[in-house]
């Protein structure tokens, strides 16, 4: 058994209620580390291209990495991997809270779920005891109620629960998985995969000690880095303000979405919904995941007005962007309420905001009218419309039900060239970062293995925030705004780096905002595994994982024709920081292809696959 791993996977077939504990060879973890990488390897081997993601044969993989089970700062994460019902790509989505460490401590590196139960069930894991339990009384509850009810039923308040809300049950293609009422595997609709299996939740707790190569060294690193990250996050503002700290800066750089990607600037809006106003108005306080020195999640408290009264989890930057400036809404309390409804219904706030922005644009342009919307005037800036549409989308009812299939499918149904308006790559809606501001994001969005995603490259923080990684050549010189040179390189390296981080599974805010260096990450990794990896070996692994994900998408029908940005991203701003800057989209993607050694169809060269030990 390798240190840092149990070499054990729990496989549950919900069709025949079969539970199997399978061994995993060391070499699999050496090739794919864990988390997103391990999940991709399972998808490649077990999910055939013709299968609909909502078919019982799709796999739903909850995977940890070597960092889980130890008090590693930012190590309380896990990945959920499946074929996405929103994008039809491979998809990995990470969440925090304490679920990942608990699964690891229960004695498993991953949980693979397949098949479909005839009736609603939930899974309970307590070390070696694994039960498939009846969930009829929980089915239909919102995600917060489900956590409370399962804990009550199990008589254990400490158990960690990953659950879906009503949206996942109704197969809404942007349904997310909600963990312990404050962390979310948000993107790509993996909650709908869970719903398609009649699986309401997975509750877990564990008590085992995960094997570690050098415990005293690991303890030393954990202590040292915890303190350093905590101090860095106070300085960067992430600790005192959470991710809303980014709003004013992102808007200033032209990075924040405004009017569904048709606006250029809105400083007044960003000021009203971002920090420090957010912190003051919502009485926001940090709410950390297990072992986290930052605590970027926010606990908020709204007393007035009574219609917005709310005590609980506050919106993140992404939500502020997509439900706020994206819709020309600057009422942070209304956004917080809409966010709370999304969380309870279990829908991704990013794609939800994108759908509503798209609807508002269609309404403004006369593509849809009151006749289509059930009498609603879907105008920009209306917080009550936001709240109503969020409910309709999550509950799959009324006009909003058209978006339960996602913005792209809805646009195709609407017709009238509405598809041209959708800001997406491969069906995944743009998050709240504009690649026209930070050009490193252009190739990363276009080639993203789950579609347009800021967390699969974080170039926005390299360019806007000085998140440099000198060990892999990511320096200030590569991060100059509106310079084409170096941006394709930046995208390649950052994608590989993020693929590694998402496989470890480490919260990216530890390095990005907490200043944890790549060398320090490897110090932690090597003290756990004893593998003594250097930067080169780790980056090769990241490249292998990214390429594995790419190979799944190629096999399943994607190619170069899909590595594009939507029409809106070719339109330069008229004012603000990026005024008049025309993003060199094609040039960057072509250069990126050369660096990756991909052919004209987007396939990696044989030489590259051999180099990465992926000669499959």
């Amino acid at each position: 058994m390798a240190s840092g791993y149990w070499n054990k996977v729990l496989r549950i077939d919900l069709t025949n209620k079969k539970v199997v504990k399978e061994d995993v060879e060391d070499k699999i973890f050496r090739l794919f580390v864990g988390g997103a990488g391990f999940g991709a390897k399972i998808l490649w081997e077990e999910v055939s291209p013709e299968k609909d993601p909502l078919h019982a044969d799709n796999r739903l993989i909850f995977a940890t990495g070597p960092l889980q089970g130890h008090p590693v700062p930012g190590g309380a994460k896990f990945s959920v991997v499946s074929k996405s019902p929103l994008t039809n790509t491979q998809a990995d989505s990470a969440a925090g809270a304490k679920w990942g460490p608990f699964l690891k401590k229960a004695g498993y590196d991953a949980l693979i779920i397949q098949g479909r139960s005839e009736t609603p069930v939930y899974i309970y894991i307590d070390d070696d005891k694994v039960e498939i339990k009846d969930a009829k009384s929980i089915w239909g509850l919102d995600s917060y109620q489900a956590v409370d009810q399962i804990r009550k039923e199990l008589g254990d308040e400490r158990v960690s629960v990953a659950t879906i809300g009503p949206a996942g049950e109704k197969l809404v293609r942007m349904a997310c998985i909600v963990v312990d009422k404050h962390s979310f595997a948000g993107r790509c609709g993996l909650g709908a995969v869970m719903g398609s299996k009649n699986l309401k939740a997975v509750a877990v707790k564990g008590s085992k000690k995960v094997p570690v190569a050098n415990l005293s060294l690991l303890k030393e690193y954990n202590r040292k880095y915890f303190k350093e990250i905590h101090n860095a996050s106070i300085k960067s503002g992430l600790r005192p303000h959470g991710t809303p700290v980014l709003c004013i800066t992102a808007e200033g750089f032209g990075d924040m979405p405004i009017k569904y990607w048709t606006g250029d600037t809105w400083p007044e809006g960003a000021k009203k919904i971002g920090a420090p106003n957010y912190t003051n108005v919502l009485s926001a306080k940090p709410y950390p995941c297990l072992y986290c020195p930052i605590g970027c999640h926010r606990n908020i408290n709204i007393e007035e007005p009574t219609k917005y009264r709310l005590k609980g989890i506050g919106p993140e930057y992404e939500t502020l962007g997509m439900l706020g400036t994206n819709l020309l809404i600057d009422d942070v309390k209304a956004i917080a309420v809409a966010n709370d409804i999304c969380n309870k219904l279990g829908i991704d706030t990013i794609s939800t905001g994108a759908c509503i922005g798209f609807a508002m644009e269609c309404y403004e342009k006369g593509i849809i009218s009151k006749k289509d919307t059930g009498g609603m005037e879907i105008k920009w800036g209306d917080p009550e419309i936001l709240i109503e549409l969020v409910k309709q989308i999550g509950n799959k009812e009324g006009f909003g039900s058209i978006f339960s299939e996602g913005a792209l499918r809805a646009a195709r149904k609407i017709g009238k060239n509405a598809e041209e308006l959708v800001a997406h790559v491969k069906g995944l809606d743009f998050p709240a970062h504009d690649p026209r501001a930070c050009w490193g994001m252009i190739p990363t969005y276009a080639t993203g293995t789950r579609g347009a995603c800021h967390m699969r490259g974080v170039e926005e923080d390299v360019e806007m925030s000085g998140f440099y990684i000198p060990e892999i050549g990511i320096t200030k010189e590569k991060a100059q705004f509106f310079k084409r040179e170096g941006k394709a390189f930046l995208a390649v390296k950052m994608q590989d780096y993020c693929a590694l981080v998402n496989s470890l599974v480490l919260c990216v805010f530890m390095p990005d905002g907490g200043d944890l260096s790549f060398t320090s990450i490897l110090n932690i990794f090597n003290s756990i595994t004893g593998w003594e990896w250097d930067v080169q070996e780790a980056m090769k692994c990241g490249e292998r994982i990214f390429t594995m994900q790419r190979l799944i998408n190629l096999r399943d029908g994607y190619s170069k024709k899909d590595d594009i940005l939507p029409p809106k991203m070719h339109v330069p701003a008229k004012k603000g920081f990026r005024a008049g800057k025309v993003p060199p989209v094609e040039e960057l993607i072509n250069e990126y292809y050369r660096l990756r050694e991909w052919d004209e169809n987007g396939h990696p060269s044989k030489r590259k696959l051999q180099e990465l030990d992926l000669d499959l």
Partner: protein, 84 residues
């Protein structure tokens, strides 16, 4: 010369027009701003180990600390914060 400065620095969110002497650098401007706004601004824009951390943008570019200011320019000061 006259310059317009927008401070977009979390707690310090302000806008002002300044009459400045010719050939002034961005660094000198930042020093003047610290003399106006005091220690609160200093703590926000200076990293004790790395120097100035505020990013000054104008005309679609990042302006370096040693660059000279131009008459009638409009500058915005932003903080390099991470976390999306």
């Amino acid at each position: 010369m006259k310059v317009k400065v927008k401070l977009r620095l979390l707690e310090i969110y302000d806008e002002l027009e300044m009459e400045l002497e010719e050939d002034l650098t961005v660094r000198s401007l930042l020093e003047k701003l610290i003399s106006i706004y005091g220690d609160n601004l200093k703590k926000l824009i200076i990293d004790p180990k790395k120097g100035y951390r505020a990013i000054v943008i104008g005309g679609g570019e990042v302006i370096k600390a040693n660059e000279k200011l131009k008459d009638k320019s409009e500058l915005t000061l932003l903080l390099p914060v991470a976390g999306g």
